[in-house]
């Protein structure tokens, strides 16, 4: 499987179909890191194991990476979902990116184009794992006061380094709203208000878009479980709107149900 992936990377590079393969390689200590393979011979540096979870789609919208020419990206299911979402949001077009797909059972997948990748990944149900669901439910079961204290506590350490945002492939905006200062929507300092506003806004902006890759959580130096917020929204959208919309917040049904507007 590893050999097949390396071979595929080599083929793509040597045939000139792509000029870079974005994949995983050994990093510091026991870590892995993103590799940008430019030469077929370097493809043997690629690795694939359970540590390889970074959502490499984050590089597809990075200017310097795009400047290298057409990339291929090693993509597990969340990464493929991201690419699908990026296509929907017109950030990646058919033909601009090749995908070396990795199935949930770690088989290398061949996709002639992004459309077939999108079809493949659409067929895999998008839902939270049992653990993730349990974590969301645990919080839901608390009283509002307990939840407030929980979030105040976990967010108190946030320094607004924006690793959560920068690691997120769907936070590709060139000028994030936190950087709008006319008006200043989000309080800049990393005090209680600034942190709360930032995390509410981040979650809302990912509502209906987040693919639950978990990179925001992994990127956080403080391991703040930020993805609980987006996971909560994922369950809400599925429960309340059926989850069939391409983007739940620019769609509606005249009979959308709620119980609080009076």
């Amino acid at each position: 499987m590893l050999a097949k992936m390396r071979q595929k990377a080599k083929d793509l590079l040597s045939s000139g179909v792509v000029s870079t393969v974005i994949g995983y390689g050994e990093g510091s200590g026991n870590r892995v890191r993103a590799l940008f393979i430019r030469k077929p011979d370097d493809a043997d540096k690629l690795i694939l194991d359970e540590r390889c979870v970074q959502n490499l789609a984050v590089y597809l919208t990075k200017r310097e990476v795009r400047a290298l020419g057409r990339p291929a990206v090693v993509a597990r299911v969340p990464v493929m979902r991201t690419i699908q979402q990026l296509m929907f949001e017109k950030q990646v077009a058919e033909g601009e990116v090749a995908v070396i797909g990795i199935s949930p059972d770690s088989q290398v997948l061949d996709f002639p184009d992004l459309k077939s990748m999108a079809e493949y990944v659409s067929a895999i149900p998008f839902e939270l794992s049992a653990d993730e669901k349990a974590a969301v439910e645990k919080l839901e079961k608390m009283t509002a006061g307990e939840r407030w204290n929980f979030w105040l506590d976990v967010l108190s350490g946030c320094s607004k380094c924006y690793a959560c945002r920068q690691s997120c492939p769907l936070c590709y905006c060139e000028r994030c709203t936190v950087e709008c200062n006319q008006p200043q929507w989000v309080s800049v300092p990393s005090h209680g208000l600034g942190n709360l506003e930032w995390h509410i806004m981040r979650a809302m902006h990912l509502a209906g878009r987040c693919v639950n890759c978990g990179d925001c959580f992994r990127a956080c130096p403080l391991e703040i479980p930020l993805n609980l917020l987006t996971q909560k929204i994922i369950t809400d959208i599925a429960d309340k709107f059926g989850g069939a919309d391409e983007y739940a917040l620019n769609a509606f049904k005249p009979d959308d149900k709620e119980d609080f507007i009076r």
Binding site: K90, Q91, C173, C180, P183
Partner: protein, 663 residues
């Protein structure tokens, strides 16, 4: 630094009675950026407006805040005054100190404090206002008139006579509406059909009017000057071009026992039918629900007898696209169902009828050819009781409003009966007699004094049948609540006028407001009675509330003149309160990421994607662009945009934010 002028209106005592206007003006004068602050008795008056204009000139104001009534009332007034003094009108904002403050709160410091807050908030907003230029859009000079009753007919003729195209849509097979069903009309007692039918013919023959009967509005998109409508031409199953209206089909149709809508259920019609002899167009339709062929698969008698071979069983509904610049809503009213007062026995007793049915009985074209015969046995009734306010002004069981026309038509009915049955007796149970209008009270007096109609002030409690008579139990409140019992042969209920069926659905299609009774809402009850809140859509007749013919006709002419006014210009000036996608310096060009998620959210399909190019034509970015002609300024895209790349002129993020932060 801004130089804002603040003008606080007392509105006589309306504001000053509860709000300390001088104090508000004083507080405003201390706000940074305010260089002029005054209060005055009537800001909207000539001297008041002059004060504003002079201050703009003398103090070189960069913005104006008027603290007065609702901006929905006088915003245009004050903006115009500013424009006249050379200040861009969009640099003027109003703080609602009357409807939202002085009228709803008691006189107190808290109320004045609120007024100060509202003013401060608007000062902060107006500091960020930008001068805006009105948007020009072309006008399609054709009007869509929905409804072919007297309102629609009058409006259509007036618009057409002004030289503009009219597309008239009527859901029934013929135009004419309720007026065509009436016998005589008050207060002159001239024959309704005699005055209406020439107008109907005129509509049919007018070169500027395209008539779509048996048709309904499918959808309406666009905006003032530029609407796109889809009209569903329901299948008549008759080729209108071939049909000569000879009537052979209806004569030979074997299914003849269908209750006639035109005769309000008092007569019969065939399955293929023309609603009434003077129908326009005089072309039949097949009532598929009752036609033997459509129900059982065989018959086709009409096809066989038609001399021009005009029958088309396989005809399908057609959707027609039209482009219009204005819409006149003239969809009329319905008569209230009577099931909510079972004690009157309507439906149970054949001889308890409603006013519209009486019109048919009294009409020379009606089922009895104008002889008043009661439905049960065809006998001429000796005693008739008319019950006014049957449903109207009855919040408990019916509707709370006055249907307005009943007093007059009841007097007319009683009078018509007395004219036709001289020895008969007519009783009218009433609450009040509302006969305001030219020659109206005289008309009612004539019924009472000359025609000896007996008016009883009181309500009817119950009607029941006994020995072939209808016993009407009531009380005469003018005789000390004396119980009263009249044994009548016929009872006529003046049932309330209600909104036409489907009015709510239609309003939603057109995005016009409507009241709790589903009557369409006017933009302003006094000053803009024929306009709706949706620009380019006008109202005529009883679709707005029950009204009589003269009022309907004058309103229809009013609406028509509004349309003609609109069509008198080649271009239409629209408020520039539209969304705009920002453009910034290179290398960003716009903060828009081009994600396009805003596009499906726009109700007007006003957002498109635009390629931003350098001077040599290289595409450097794809970003959203709002078509200002299509944008109506709802701002849904603005709230959706993650990067705040779209903003709404007049309600920009900065303005709203500043407004909020000042509260």
């Amino acid at each position: 630094m801004s130089r804002i002028g603040v003008f606080i209106c007392h509105c006589g005592e309306n504001i000053n009675g509860t709000v300390d206007c001088a104090k508000v003006a004083e507080a405003a004068s201390r706000v940074p950026g305010v260089s002029h602050s005054v209060d005055y008795k009537y800001m909207c008056s000539d001297p008041g407006q002059s004060m504003i204009k002079e201050a703009i000139k003398e103090k070189k104001l960069t913005g104006v805040v008027v603290g007065a009534c609702s901006p929905r009332m006088h915003e245009p007034t004050f903006r115009r005054a500013c424009a006249e003094a050379g200040l861009n009108p969009y640099l003027c904002e109003m703080a609602n100190l009357r409807e939202h403050c002085s009228w709803v709160h008691e006189k107190s410091e808290a109320t004045t404090r609120k007024a100060v807050d509202l003013i401060k908030s608007m000062i902060e907003k107006v500091k960020l206002n930008q001068p805006l230029q009105p948007i020009k859009v072309p006008v399609t000079r054709a009007a869509l008139v929905l409804g072919g009753g007297i309102a629609g007919i009058q409006a259509s003729l007036d618009i057409a006579n002004a030289g503009h195209q009219v597309i008239m849509v009527e859901r029934e097979p013929s135009i004419g509406g309720h007026m065509s069903q009436l016998s005589e009309t008050f207060p002159t007692l001239d024959c309704s059909q005699c005055i209406l039918t020439p107008r109907m013919v005129e509509v049919a023959q007018h070169p500027n009017i395209t008539l779509h009967t048996y048709s309904e509005l499918e959808s309406l998109e666009g905006f003032i000057g530029n609407f796109k409508a889809k009209i569903r031409n329901k299948a008549r199953c008759v080729d209108e071009k071939l049909c000569t209206g000879c009537g052979m089909c209806a004569q030979k149709c074997p299914t003849k026992k269908i209750s006639s809508e035109f005769n309000a259920g008092l007569g019969m019609r065939s399955a293929i039918y023309v609603p009434f002899p003077q129908a326009v167009p005089n072309k039949p339709v097949i009532d598929k629900d009752h036609c033997t062929f459509f129900q059982k698969g065989k018959c086709k008698v009409c096809e066989k007898v038609c001399p021009t071979k005009a029958i088309r069983y396989d005809q399908e509904d057609r959707i027609i696209d039209v482009e219009v610049g204005a819409v006149v809503l003239a969809t009329g009213f319905d008569v209230l169902g009577t099931d909510f007062f079972p004690e009157y026995g309507y439906g149970r007793y054949k001889d308890v009828i409603n006013g519209l049915q009486f019109e048919r009985l009294a009409s020379a074209s009606g089922p009895t050819l104008g002889v008043i015969k009661r439905p049960s046995d065809g006998k001429v009734p000796e005693t008739v009781v008319f019950v006014a306010c049957a449903g109207s002004r009855d919040p408990a069981k019916g509707i709370e409003y006055c249907s307005k026309i009943c007093c007059m038509y009841t007097a007319k009915h009683a009078m018509l009966y007395k004219h036709k049955v001289h020895e008969g007796s007519a009783y009218v149970f009433y609450m009040d007699i509302r006969a305001g209008g030219k020659m109206y009270d005289e008309f009612v007096r004539r019924a009472i004094e000359e025609d000896d109609v007996k008016y009883v002030r009181g309500r009817v409690s119950r009607i029941y049948e006994e020995d072939g008579k209808l016993v009407v139990k009531g009380a005469d409140t003018l005789l000390g609540h004396e119980p009263l019992e009249i044994r009548a042969d016929l009872v006529v209920l003046a049932t309330a006028g209600v909104a036409s069926s489907g009015a709510e659905e239609l309003a939603q299609k057109l995005h016009v407001s409507y009241d709790s009774h589903h009557f369409f809402a006017e933009a302003h009850p006094k000053l803009r009675p024929v306009e709706t809140n949706t620009a380019g859509i006008f109202l005529a007749g009883a679709c707005q509330s029950p009204r009589d013919i003269p009022e309907t006709v004058s309103q229809a002419s009013g609406a028509a003149s509004k349309v003609a006014g609109l069509f008198s210009q080649e271009e239409l000036t629209r408020e520039p309160l539209v969304a705009v996608v920002n453009r910034t310096a290179p290398p960003l060009y716009s903060t828009c990421t081009g994600c396009g998620l805003c596009m499906p959210a726009c109700p007007y399909q006003a957002i498109e994607m635009e390629e931003i190019r350098t001077r040599d034509g290289t595409v450097v970015k794809v970003a959203a662009k709002v078509n200002p002609g299509l944008c109506q300024g709802c701002g849904t895209c603005v709230a959706l945009c993650r990067v705040k790349a779209i903003d709404l002129q007049g309600y920009t993020n900065e303005q709203i934010y500043a407004e909020l932060m000042a509260l």
